[in-house]
Symmetry: C2
Subunit: 492 residues, 2 copies
């Protein structure tokens, strides 16, 4: 890939001065269109030491409206970042719709260095590249086009450039403190970078390798390419908007025999058995959750299921066993406008707890493939790819030390009706029942079918679904608390 | 204050069981009213070791809807917190309107411990208490009622309680690891806490001291008091809404002689002088900003002034001198709904950079006393108290190592008209001029008067206003860059 960027591309200053104002005006114009669009582009700038990454950044700041740019320097980790999955730091600084993020350092930087210094083996390297492909694909489809620039210098040019910078007191700070150390590994860096670029240069997020030895050529090439890529992304949005107008797909129907219908909803416990088993399980959960915190691991418990399925009651039994300092219950309400201005998983990434905590989700990211699917808030292509995106998300959670348990609280349609009526007549329960609940109930079959799809496609070894027979609240609560206990015990 | 909480208050279990359901239902009801209100209450729970702080938290979680509660444990600092002013960690977790925040540990905890162990002297203690009064007053007036509970135990009761907990394997984790160490200092803690509470127990945010030896009494007292305080806050909101309907005050008029009119707007520089002085100043700023970063200090530069005053151009000259990794330009647009759901300073607190960075604000928190005052977005009582709130904000920034420079770019009304017309006829400048600009221009005098008030009331030693004669862009830009250089030099 790099050979084409070692041919001595140059641009004379006169041509540059003639062409620059036009590109600059066009960049400003396209930035204004971005500001009014649902796009939040990210520009990744990588490349050789001394190739002019910071000058390129400065150029973009000068030629565009700096108020619409968010620059992020992503090298050293803070401890808050260290205590969360690796990609948290990238998610947290994704720009909102209408803004452009410039990333100096990215999900490539650490990876390339780690491979050059053989801190990771080829398998891990390939796995990470595959993760990057999924990540960038998701971003692109969610309205975050990823523009990637690699500023390349030949070995001779890089040596010359480092010497130049090192001997100029006013420019020396531009050099990385390990510039010479890295230079000794030039060939390794070149080979690893080339592979990383080749394997992540796909249609939706291609790399642009820029020969960086000549300032004018470099500047104009990057600026022109950013311009074109943003225009393409805007055109793509219009195409997509046209497609969106298609007919709504029919509601899904559940298979006659499925994992939910196979449950024996008559299972129940007597009060006496309930009391003793719950007490024992709660005591264990209390103790084990303390151990978990001390070990710096985390627990994520997800609750999904029909309205009035008993999520609230089960959650209270579970959290009642733990120190309130350790846990947080997150109820998923309608997204805020900041959340809507980002990819749908952003709101969950941003709220990820630090290590050592327990987070209980009363409904979760699974809304994407349940309510958003059924109500048409997400298009078919959006919720279909969500299964893989969610698996990938949970895999990252698991890798960074989270124990994940997901509960589906299953009740029968009759039981739901009984509970709805009870809520309507009990004063302190009335707030729990709304028009939405009745509307959702009318689509019972569609929700059941969506739930079956979800359970099938997102039950993984690292984040299994546990189906809970919940017509009897005692049975359901004991099963929830005991299951959490077992996971805390087995997977510590 | 504590004597009244050592009288042996008790509640028998029968009375408790009779009264609890009513309080519980009322709490749920008031929480639903809060959810629909512009209030975001904060409940601070402090008190003796083993007095039942975590049980009280658990009680609130059990009796209220946990999805509307956000619990925050605020003891150990993360490094991201350490690199910002002390109160950043509290601001970042303030609940949004409609939710209730429960703070375990608060702005009192560190302060009391520091005073007991004499890490701070009496003066610093008093100064912090005064800061707390201002903070809580501001919160209350901004729709964040602060409910403060101190769970008290007499010395004998505390000793008994620690022994009890320590001997119960299932409850031992509830004890702070320094419980016995703290107990040895019981008298000191009592005296310091009592003073802290007395001096911060004011009408808008009183402390409720609760005798904590009897569980039933403690639970019912806290729950009832939370209920009453939330009801009071809701009533207060209605009163305020009624007041809001009053007539709009007249627009302010500027004094005939004032700081802005006294400026000599004819000041200018030749191109030659401009080039050489700018180049020299930019080189200094580049070098000094690197030193600043290494020293772990930060620079905040605020730009305010009439539309077309040349803020953008001055900012580009200033940032052009610095590494793009170091600085961020923040343009202040309309607040997002999350920002609107918090006190007005929240959006600025949340965006505070870590140590070592430079942040340039293209307009800022001063919008409160400029556009919001003139356009009536803030009520007179709101913008009037904003001067003191802003001074306090900037004082905290300065204390945590920020160098703050604030520029007012002054142009004449004629010069503004000339620039507006130029923008209308130059293609790549047209985006800079909007209807709003013409509307603001019609209120020129009112804006000038508001600016004079602002400069007079918020120019402090630690965050001075610098007035810049800006009819000549060269003069203005050189003055800006040279002023920043001088501040970097003098105040490092």
């Amino acid at each position: 890939m790099f050979e084409a960027a070692e041919v001595g591309n140059k641009l004379d200053k006169t041509t540059y001065k003639r062409k620059a104002p036009g590109v600059r005006a066009a960049l400003l114009a396209v930035q204004r269109r971005i500001a009014a669009s649902p796009l939040a582009p990210v520009i990744v700038i990588g490349g050789a030491e001394g190739a002019g990454k910071s000058e390129t950044m400065a150029l973009l700041h000068e030629w565009m409206d700096a108020r619409g740019l968010e620059t992020n320097v992503l090298f050293d980790l803070t401890d808050e970042e260290r205590e969360r999955p690796e990609y948290w730091r990238f998610w947290r600084v994704l720009p909102p719709k209408g803004k452009i993020g410039i990333f100096f350092g990215s999900w490539y930087s650490g990876l390339i260095v780690d491979r050059v210094y053989e801190r990771i083996d080829e398998n891990a390297f390939q796995r990470e590249l595959s993760r990057i492909r999924g990540f960038e694909r998701m971003l692109t489809l969610e309205g975050v086009p990823v523009l990637k620039y690699w500023l390349h210098l030949s070995k001779a040019d890089e040596k010359k450039r480092i010497k130049q910078l090192a001997s100029n007191p006013r420019a020396r700070w531009r050099l990385h403190r390990s510039a010479w150390k890295f230079f000794k590994r030039y060939d390794d860096f070149r080979s690893v970078s080339e592979r990383a670029l080749r394997e992540t240069s796909l249609g939706y997020a291609p790399w642009t390798v820029v020969e960086a030895a000549d300032t004018e050529y470099r500047n104009l090439t990057v600026a022109t390419s950013v311009l074109e890529a943003l225009e393409d992304a805007l055109a793509e949005v219009e195409t997509r908007a046209a497609k969106r107008a298609g007919p709504k797909p029919p509601l899904p129907k559940p298979a006659r025999v499925n994992v939910i219908r196979r449950l024996d909803l008559s299972r129940s416990l007597t009060t006496k058995v309930y009391d003793s088993r719950l007490e024992a399980a709660e005591a264990d959960v209390g103790r084990l959750s303390q151990k978990l915190a001390k070990a710096g691991r985390s627990l994520i418990v997800v609750f999904e299921g029909p309205d009035a399925g008993g999520k609230g009651g089960a959650i209270r039994r579970l959290t009642g066993a733990m120190s309130p300092y350790l846990y947080r219950v997150t109820g998923i309400a309608a997204p805020t406008d900041e959340e809507r201005a980002h990819p749908y998983l952003w709101r969950f990434w941003r709220a990820l707890p630090r290590r050592g905590r327990v987070t209980v989700y009363d409904r979760s990211w699974y809304g994407r493939v349940l309510v958003e699917r059924i109500e048409g808030f997400a298009r078919p292509d959006e919720w279909r790819r969500a299964y893989a995106e969610i698996n990938e998300f949970e895999e990252q959670l698991a890798e960074s030390g989270n124990i994940i348990v997901k509960f589906w609280l299953a009740i029968s349609a009759d039981e739901q009706l009984r509970r709805f009526k009870d809520r309507q007549t009990t004063p302190y329960k009335q707030y729990k029942i709304t028009e939405d609940d009745w509307r959702n109930r009318a689509k019972w079959d569609a929700y059941e079918a969506a739930a079956c799809d979800m359970i099938e496609r997102t039950s993984t070894e690292y984040a299994p679904w546990v189906l809970v027979e919940a017509n009897d609240k005692r049975w359901a609560r004991v099963k929830v608390v005991e299951t959490v206990r077992d996971h805390l015990r087995d997977r510590r």
